[in-house]
Each structure stands twice: as structure tokens, then as C-alpha cells.
């Protein structure tokens, strides 16, 4: 019989992994299509959390309404981010320059710059401290399940992550938008010959990815009751690690890796102090890069 303590740790690990997965899905989607790392994804997460916070503080609507507004703000933020940080570097839209190193490095810097601007602006407006959240909105009501205790937030995050993941898989496989996204990801030049509006497809990819990022932000903010301007940094790093472990552009790979990451971190806290738990992610990143440069799930470079 498994010790209840480890069972509890496993549960915590699963919910942690789910949070990372929530973040990693949007991150990986954008990488898969454009082959660029969106460093501002963490700030989209923060913006989502703050948008929710403002909604709660000013109107106090039902949670579902908060989430819908957050998604709308995320969509807007994704659109703005694409126009400001990515579009200017897409002047040359042939395949060679879209996937060139210069393109990748330039957008790496521009998205990093956007993320710094967003974070610092939030600090100027709100200060760097934790914001107080109306306690009735927190999703941390305890539920006893046999020997383990979970909170209702675990269930909500699990449900949202599942819906997002399955929804996205469905979208990519069966909808016109999804097929266009995959086509642009696979062969941007071929997509133009087929009459696909590549510009619009790229914007949509950012919008979808950012909606997911913003939703993750508010959910995690309400889960921990901690909303502050630099809250996006750590999940951003973890999502990045999960993406690299999963093979860079495979969404299922990133989700599985995020779960592995969460469980390992939570298990590690029973061996080492919890401040060291973050080391797990970096160790995974290092091991993956050295021993599995193609990611943990085989050499196949299936994009999106």
C-alpha cells in the first residue's frame, strides 16, 4: 500500500503539472507555427491574472464571467503582441527568411523587450507586492478524497487543461482554421500558393495561444491567491522546459513533459528543501539538451 504522504505529494504534483501544461500548450502552439520562442508568453499569463483581478475588484461578477473577460483580454494581448513584436520582422515572407536564424533571434529579443515593458508597467501601476484578491473567489476549498486532500481548484484546473488540450487537438485536426495553422506551420510558402491568408493565420495562432496563457494566469492566481507583476516568470520557464522536453513543437509531448515535471518537483520536495525544487526543472532541461536533443519522445519532428 502506498504511503498516504506520497499519494498526497503525487496529487500535488499532478495539479502542479497541470498548471505547467496549461501554460506549455499555448507556448508550444506558437513555437510550432512560427518556429520562434515567444518570451512574452509569461507576461500574457500575468496580464490575464491582472485583468481578472481588476474585474473582481470593480464588478465582482460570477467566476465564469471573469474567465470570459480574461480570455478576451488574452486575445487582445496576443493580437497586440504579434503586431508589435513579431509582424515587423516578417517583412520578408518567403520560407527561407521566415525560418532564418536572424528572424528567430530578432523576435526573441523583441518579445523579451515586450515582456519587460509589460512587467515594468504593471509594477509601476500596481507595485511589485502581492495583490489582495477577494477571498470568496479563491479556488482552494478543500475536498477530502480518501487519504488525500485536494482543493476544488485542482479539479477546475484539470478540467480547463483537459478541455483546452482536447479542444485544440480537435481544432487542429478538423477545423479550417486548424488546418490552416498546421499548413502554415508545415510549409508557409506552400500555404500561400493554396490561398491561405498566412498573416491572418499567424495572428489567430497568437490569439489562441494567448487566450490559453491568460486563462492559465487567472486560474493559477486564484488557486494560490497570489497575483503580482512577476508571477509569469517561473511558469514561463517551466513551460519552456516542458516544450523542450516534449520535442519543441509537439503539444502532446509538452503536456506529458509538464506532468512529469510537476510530479518530479513535488516528489523532490520530500527529499530536498522546497526552495531547491526549481532545480528539478533546470536539471531536466540540461539532461534533455545533452542526452535527448530531439526531446524525450523520439526524433520525429512533428510540428504542432
Amino acid at each position: 500500500m502506498l504511503d498516504p504522504y506520497y499519494l498526497q505529494q503525487l496529487t500535488i504534483g499532478l495539479s502542479l503539472g497541470m498548471i505547467y501544461a496549461l501554460m506549455a500548450i499555448g507556448f508550444t502552439l506558437i513555437f510550432g507555427v512560427l518556429n520562434v520562442v515567444n518570451f512574452a508568453h509569461g507576461e500574457i499569463y500575468t496580464i490575464g491574472a491582472f485583468a481578472g483581478l481588476l474585474m473582481i475588484a470593480t464588478f465582482g461578477p460570477p467566476l465564469l464571467a471573469v474567465l470570459l473577460v480574461v480570455m478576451a483580454v488574452g486575445a487582445l494581448a496576443g493580437f497586440g503582441l504579434e503586431r508589435l513584436a513579431f509582424k515587423p520582422f516578417r517583412r520578408f515572407s518567403d520560407e527561407a527568411s521566415m525560418k532564418s536564424r536572424a528572424m528567430r533571434e530578432a523576435t526573441l529579443m523583441s518579445s523579451l523587450a515586450m515582456s519587460i515593458v509589460a512587467r515594468e508597467s504593471l509594477e509601476l501601476i500596481f507595485g511589485s507586492q502581492f495583490q489582495s484578491v477577494d477571498l470568496s473567489y479563491l479556488i482552494n476549498k478543500q475536498i477530502q478524497l480518501g487519504p488525500v486532500t485536494i482543493v476544488n481548484g485542482d479539479l477546475i484546473i484539470f478540467a480547463v487543461a483537459l478541455v483546452m488540450f482536447l479542444g485544440l487537438q480537435w481544432l487542429l485536426k478538423y477545423s479550417t482554421i486548424g488546418l490552416s495553422i498546421r499548413a502554415v506551420s508545415n510549409n508557409p510558402l506552400g500555404a500561400r500558393y493554396c490561398g491561405i491568408n498566412t498573416d491572418r493565420t499567424i495572428i489567430l495562432t497568437f490569439v489562441i495561444g494567448s487566450v490559453m496563457g491568460a486563462l492559465a494566469g487567472i486560474l493559477v492566481g486564484l488557486y494560490y491567491g497570489a497575483i503580482y507583476p512577476s508571477m509569469g516568470f517561473t511558469p514561463g520557464i517551466k513551460a519552456f522546459v516542458a516544450m523542450v522536453m516534449g520535442g519543441l513543437s509537439s503539444i502532446p509531448g509538452a503536456v506529458i513533459s509538464a506532468m512529469i515535471l510537476g510530479i518530479t518537483e513535488s516528489m523532490a520536495t520530500s527529499v530536498v528543501s522546497s526552495v531547491w525544487a526549481d532545480m528539478v526543472a533546470y536539471a531536466f532541461l540540461l539532461i534533455t539538451l545533452v542526452f535527448f536533443p530531439q526531446g524525450l519522445f523520439g526524433a520525429r519532428r512533428e510540428r504542432v
Partner: protein
């Protein structure tokens, strides 16, 4: 009758390089027109200008009387100009069916049966990853994908490149068949012999300029063409 596709005095400069100079080509309704020439003379650049991948620096392109010179590639596709481009540019990690459905755009699956009747080989491979097919099958997919939108003008850029003689025949027969169904075709080829056999009119391009232009039958007997492209004799 007016021409369906009309390229007028087109020129293209990329940097300081003049790729195309004063090129004029026109495709009549229901006709096959060939543009011939060796490697690197500007044939593919011409095709890219028509599809809006490159933007011409001079001249104009008209489809059904409408000026499409400044339009974006997806807007040009919406106006019924579809291309089976050089290098095929299929979506290699998607299935054959997905490739075709994307090609169909708003027409979706409506045209699928027609395309599959032209390419029975593709029907057997609908669920297969496009990139895992042979070169000839990929070429069929590339042409099929362009046909999914019922194009007014079909642009074919070197459809015979890298194919076995038997497949070259198949492609030639196919082009004649779709012409007989009412499509208009602009064909770019290095395989001059095959192209002259199916084309009505043809132009020869050299160094970015049209140097010879006329009926395909006349070109096939023109010593300038036979000497340079057909090894001095033609059957």
C-alpha cells in the same frame, strides 16, 4: 475573345538584379500556353509574380480584365489563379486528404471527387502522410491541390521535373484532359519537347526576356528552338 490571363510588360528587380524584363504572356480561355527556357532564366520568378509571391516592379497582370498586380497571394487565389509550384510545396507532415481539403479552401470537399477521378492513385493514399509518397505522387497531389479550387487559370511550374518518362506522359495527358474540361493552363517547362506537344502557343525566355514567341507547332520547327533545346532535331 479576350485573354483570361494577361501579363503585360512585366519586370521584376530584386536588389540590383533584373530578373524579368518586359515580359508579356497571355493565356486565352481554354488554352494551354507554355513558357520555355533553361534553368535560371526567370521562368519561376514569372510564375511567382503571377501568384503574388513576388511583387513585380513594373508592368501589370490581368485576370479576366481585373488587375491583380498588387494583390496578395491569397487574394489572387480567391480570383481563381492557382499554382502547382516549383518544388511542389505540399504539406509533407499532413495527410493527402488534408492537403486536398486545404487546397479547396471555401469549396471544401466539393471538388474532391473530381480531383480523385483524375488521380486514382491519390484515392488509395488519402490517409497517408503526403511527405512519405513518391515524387510522382507528390506532383499529382500538388496539381490536385491546385485543382481543388476549380481555378480559372492553372499555373504549372515544371510539373515534369524529376519524373520518370512514363509519369511525364501521364502529366501531359492530364494537362490535355483538364484543358478539355475547360480549364486554362499556363505551363512552365524545361522539357521543351513535352511542352510543345501539348501547348497551343509558347514563348521562349532567355535572361529574363521573351526571345521567341509563337504557335507551338511553329516553335517545334524553328531552328533557334530545335538547336538550343531539342538537340538539333525533333520528331
Amino acid at each position: 475573345m479576350s485573354n483570361l490571363l494577361e501579363v503585360r510588360n512585366l519586370s521584376l528587380k530584386i536588389g540590383v538584379q533584373e530578373i524579368l524584363h518586359d515580359v508579356s504572356v497571355s493565356v486565352p480561355r481554354g488554352g494551354i500556353v507554355a513558357v520555355l527556357g533553361a534553368n535560371g532564366v526567370g521562368k519561376t520568378s514569372l510564375m511567382r509574380c503571377i501568384s503574388g509571391i513576388y511583387h513585380a516592379t513594373g508592368g501589370s497582370i490581368l485576370v479576366d480584365g481585373e488587375d491583380i498586380t498588387k494583390l496578395k497571394s491569397h487574394e489572387i487565389a480567391e480570383r481563381g489563379v492557382l499554382q502547382a509550384p516549383e518544388g511542389r510545396q505540399i504539406f509533407s507532415n499532413m495527410t493527402v486528404l488534408e492537403n486536398l481539403v486545404i487546397g479547396g479552401g471555401p469549396l471544401g470537399k466539393q471538388e474532391l471527387d473530381h480531383v480523385l477521378s483524375l488521380f486514382p492513385r491519390l484515392e488509395e493514399r488519402l490517409k497517408q502522410q503526403a511527405g512519405s509518397m513518391s515524387g510522382g505522387e507528390q506532383q499529382m497531389l500538388c496539381i490536385g491541390r491546385a485543382l481543388m479550387r476549380k481555378p480559372k487559370v492553372l499555373l504549372l511550374d515544371e510539373p515534369s521535373l524529376g519524373l520518370a518518362p512514363k509519369l511525364v506522359r501521364f502529366i501531359c495527358d492530364l494537362v490535355e484532359r483538364i484543358r478539355s474540361e475547360g480549364y486554362s493552363v499556363l505551363l512552365v517547362e524545361q522539357n521543351v519537347k513535352a511542352a510543345l506537344r501539348i501547348a497551343g502557343r509558347a514563348s521562349v525566355i532567355e535572361g529574363g526576356r521573351i526571345v521567341i514567341e509563337g504557335e507551338a507547332d511553329d516553335l517545334a520547327r524553328d531552328p533557334r528552338v530545335t538547336d538550343a533545346y531539342l538537340g538539333g532535331h525533333v520528331h
